[in-house]
């Protein structure tokens, strides 16, 4: 991230913002797709986040915090997607079918599949805390700041999310171990 570029964009230079956006959009896409589990909604969330960022860039006091600030806006944008869905009473959006991971050398495909199914069963809030903690590797304090919640709340949310994921994965495991003829 180029500090000078952020400063220029903050002063209203749209070309500078364009370069910042181009440099950030891939990272933002990855975060939004992991949180929302839906590519179309993720693209909407990223676009909303970048538009909000441009609109509010004057409020960014420390240019060095641009990436963290932008991530916070994106996470809020993802949560707004959930709220819009709730308010608009949309039916559940089909989940993206993701193939096995190419870098998953140690965990088996079956394990990765169980984990993926478990993640899909979580709420957006639960996936968000997991993505912040295990994909972005934020500390609990930084994740709490990103979500705008107290540290204690972040700890409890993370604990509940991992418990829910563990329960969901275990349930999938039990179901897969169940004799196929009994499910017919």
């Amino acid at each position: 991230m180029d500090r000078e570029l952020v400063t220029q964009a903050r002063d209203g230079d749209h070309d500078a913002f364009a370069r910042l956006a181009a440099g950030s959009i891939g990272r933002l896409n990855a975060i939004a797709r992991l949180i929302l589990n839906d590519h179309a909604r993720a693209e909407d969330a990223v676009q909303d986040a970048l538009v909000d960022a441009w609109r509010n860039l004057r409020g960014l006091r420390d240019p060095d915090r641009f990436d963290a600030w932008l991530t916070r806006i994106l996470v809020r944008s993802c949560q707004d997607m959930r709220r819009l869905d709730r308010r608009r009473r949309l039916v559940e959006v089909p989940l993206v079918d993701i193939g096995p991971g190419i870098g998953d050398l140690q965990a088996s495909v079956a394990d990765a599949d169980q984990l993926e199914r478990g993640l899909r069963r979580l709420t957006i809030d639960q996936r968000t805390v997991l993505v912040l903690s295990y994909y972005l590797d934020l500390t609990l304090a930084d994740a709490a700041a990103t979500l705008g919640i107290p540290l204690g709340t972040m700890k409890s949310r993370l604990s509940r999310a991992t418990d829910a994921l563990r329960a969901s994965v275990d349930a999938t495991e039990r179901l897969s171990a169940y004799p196929a003829e009994r499910l017919a």
Partner: protein
Amino acid sequence: MTSDRNLDQLLRRHFLDRADTTVLDGQTDAVLHETASVRQRPGWLAALRSPSMTTIAMPQRASISRSTWVLVALGALVALGLMAALAGGARQPASPFNGRIVFGRFDEGLGDTVVYAVNPDGSHLVKLRPEVHEGPHWSPDGKLIGMTDAVMNADGSGYRERTFGQADFTLAAWDWSPDGKRLLMEGFNDVDPSRHGVYTVRANDGGDLVRLTKPGDAGIPAAYSPDGSKVLWVLPDPGNEIGQLMVIDTDGSNQRRLGNLTVNADPTWAPDGRSVLASSNGRLYSIDVASGKATQLRIKSAPEALIVRGQWSPDGTRILVKRYMGGQNNDLFSMLPDGTDLIQVTNNLDDDRFYDWGVHPLE
């Protein structure tokens, strides 16, 4: 799997494998096209919407330079003059009114609403909590403020979370029953939409979950009736944020639609329980509960102003309205029921929403 391996490590690897940083053709161009059409606010407007400007009664002077104060003061004079002209006579009140208003103001930095309280004459604006919350609402005795996920004292102290849902089922609180014993909740589940609906729970421990709406009726709760016998809610149209105005008894019986307007999702009761305020397409209506007849209410000095919510004062003498001011900006105004005596309660470039006028004494 989870008992044999470290879930943390598996998650880290899983996310790294699944992270898709692909940028679609045209995605960046679409963003830049959109941002190019959205101008940043000029610096003097940014100064006007600073916390110090929005808390005239309680300025935080320590971090504000003298030159900024001069700029802010000049900006305030200009803004007040403009607002008076635009509002057609909005003014500060001659005398204080009862109660206190709690509301959520959209914070652009945080990306969601932060809870504030203000007197009905616009004085003593206080930011109650630093983090984001939705749906602030007063307890019947005016001593507590509830949010969808937490509760606190009227001054913001004594904050504590209010998490009643289970891991896969979220409950969000929207109102207290008039006797303070129960909470009106919206329940939803991201995986199973059929569980979305209107519920009530015991206020002190979240027990005794009662579902009022039928499975499939993904209702949005609004408020208990003043006598506590009924609940107002909205049945949203698929794909919309608006829907049918509904009322149901607190035992889940006697569900019926009020009137035939398509309304916004946050209607309110009149203190006598005989009518309801609801907005539809930017117009505010008083809807008679018995007949369903709707009567439009207007701001007399600005009859074409867009009003997106209305609520009676606790004593039934005034109506607090959320008025659309352009862009993302909504401000709160109060007026007499005939639309006269308009008073601007909040004046900010952000979206002021989720408000509730409670009986807490004036500060």
